[in-house]
């Protein structure tokens, strides 16, 4: 579904160039759940954001199905409609109600009528247990509720793949569970997922494959049992010793 070939990304900052991705390649199958872990600053977010071109790769290729994403001629908006993204800080639209947050993109992009979109929204809200918040504004919700709405907002587009960038890192500990619960259910439903997270328990539970990123490279990848049970790379061993 997503294929990444020899991805490089360099940020040009006032203090000089910063090479963040140094040749990352991977292939994510349809229905596969890939969890990406690694120390802070290793390039996990940048890697994820290159997949839907929120960051423009410096070189390399990103393929989504049969389309080259980082091609000047590709219609990036069309591709993004099929790739949902969930952010660490939710990024709900504060001036819109929950219902409007969810239905805005599907209706403005003319994928659904207003009625269809609201129906879909209610159905999804029911799934995450937040129907009664439909007319509330984001500021009235708790962090966990906001993130569940953000997931719903992305799902309302009927995406083929969902990208998560540390969806629980900004939450109070007691709210992490409710969000992971929604993500687990989503995983069970067969969604293709790429998740950057520090929640190792969650990775162990839902991942088909866990990637370890370090300093702009994928140093190791394996199914969770192997990844956590028998890590090969000394850097991964170090990392796991610190976080587990």
């Amino acid at each position: 579904m997503i294929t990444v070939k020899d991805l490089h990304k360099t940020f040009h900052t006032p203090d000089g160039d910063l090479q963040v991705l140094k040749g990352v390649s991977d292939h994510i199958e349809k229905g596969e759940k890939v969890v990406i872990v690694g120390p802070s600053g290793s390039g996990k977010s940048t890697f994820l954001r290159c997949m839907n071109l929120l960051e423009t790769p410096t070189s390399g290729e990103v393929w989504f199905e049969d389309k080259l994403v980082n091609d000047k001629k590709s219609d990036i908006d069309k591709i993004r409609m099929q790739m949902g993204m969930v952010f660490q800080h939710f990024n709900l639209f504060p001036h819109k109600t929950i219902m409007q947050n969810i239905t805005l993109a599907p209706t403005k992009l003319k994928l659904m009528s207003k009625e269809e979109a609201s129906e879909k929204a209610l159905q999804l809200l029911k799934r995450v247990g937040l129907v009664e918040k439909a007319d509330a504004y984001p500021a009235q919700l708790s962090g966990g509720q906001k993130q569940r709405i953000a997931i719903v907002r992305a799902l309302a587009m009927n995406p083929k793949v969902m990208l998560f960038d540390e969806p629980t890192s900004a939450l109070d500990p007691e709210m992490v569970g409710e969000v992971l619960q929604v993500m687990s259910e989503l995983a069970e439903s067969g969604m293709t997922m790429a998740v950057v997270t520090h929640e190792m328990g969650f990775a162990r539970e839902i991942a088909d494959r866990v990637l370890f990123m370090h300093d702009g490279l994928i140093l190791e990848q394996a199914p969770p049992s192997e990844f956590f049970g028998n890590p090969q790379n000394p850097r991964l061993q170090d990392f796991l010793a610190k976080v587990l």
Binding site: N52, N91, K108, A154
Partner: protein
């Protein structure tokens, strides 16, 4: 005969005025000449109508121009890392030229050029339009700066959320960024309205009969400047004080709605 001399006037004045000290009598006489004789207060009311119409028209035009320019300039700045589309580059050059010219020349001169070189209005309606267009174009240059900071105050995450859903750049701007930016800059726009209100006093140079022009007209009838001009100042002052109060209330309401 539009001049009634002080001696004639005081002879027919009510007795309580005749009992006043002479300097107060003179003031009363001037006040009477400015406002009451021949119903001259109508001049002020008519002038205020024009002043308000021009202020509101110019504000609306200025906001539209300002937001368009701000969007172009932000688009230009944001696309530094990638290649900048030619259209944006051309539009950005236009904006820069516009800002340089408008900020680099006095408003009075802009009015003279619009009124007597470019638009040359012949009718009353035409003059009002000319006043609105000139002040609106001028105000747009200042609103652009306000709007730019407003757009930049909306977090990057909002743009990313919009784009990640498949909205294009301009849909994201229109549906997500600008509504939030406008809310952020409403207080600053209120100040711009007050500035504009005072600036409309210059439109008298294109013969537009705003409240300032009307005060001048009265002076030319009474040959006395004191009461008409002081009254004019008081009129502006009262409007500005009232507007400032209203804006304060409005701003507090807005802030409350943030913490619901």
């Amino acid at each position: 005969m539009s001049i009634i001399t002080f001696t004639n006037w005081i002879a027919t004045a009510p007795s309580w005025i005749q009992g006043l000290p002479e300097w107060l009598q003179t003031l009363c006489y001037q006040f009477w000449q400015t406002f009451i004789y021949q119903d001259r207060w109508h001049f002020f009311v008519d002038g205020l109508k024009i002043t308000f119409i021009v202020t509101l028209g110019a504000l609306a035009l200025g906001i539209i121009i300002g937001i368009i320019i701000a969007v172009i300039r932000v688009s230009y700045d944001n696309s530094i890392e990638k290649k900048i589309p030619l259209v944006i580059r051309i539009l950005n050059s236009f904006c820069k030229l516009y800002l340089t010219i408008i900020r680099g020349t006095p408003m009075m001169v802009q009015l003279l050029i619009m009124g007597f070189v470019i638009m040359v209005p012949k009718t009353d309606g035409g003059m009002i339009v000319c006043g609105i267009v000139t002040l609106g174009i001028n105000s747009g240059a200042y609103v652009a700066e306000i709007a730019r900071s407003g757009i930049m105050s909306v977090s990057r995450g909002q743009t990313e959320a919009g784009r990640s859903l498949g909205l294009n750049y301009f849909q994201t701007m229109r549906l997500i960024i600008i509504p939030q930016a406008v809310k952020n800059i409403l207080p600053a726009l209120g100040n711009e309205m007050i500035t504009l209100l005072k600036d409309t006093s210059l439109v008298s140079v294109i013969a537009l009969r705003d409240v300032t022009k009307q005060a001048q007209n009265i002076v030319s009838k009474t040959y006395q400047a004191y009461i008409p001009y002081i009254s004019l100042a008081v009129i502006y002052l009262i409007i500005v004080i009232v507007l400032t109060k209203l804006l304060g209330i409005f701003e507090r309401r807005l802030r409350k709605s943030d913490h619901r």
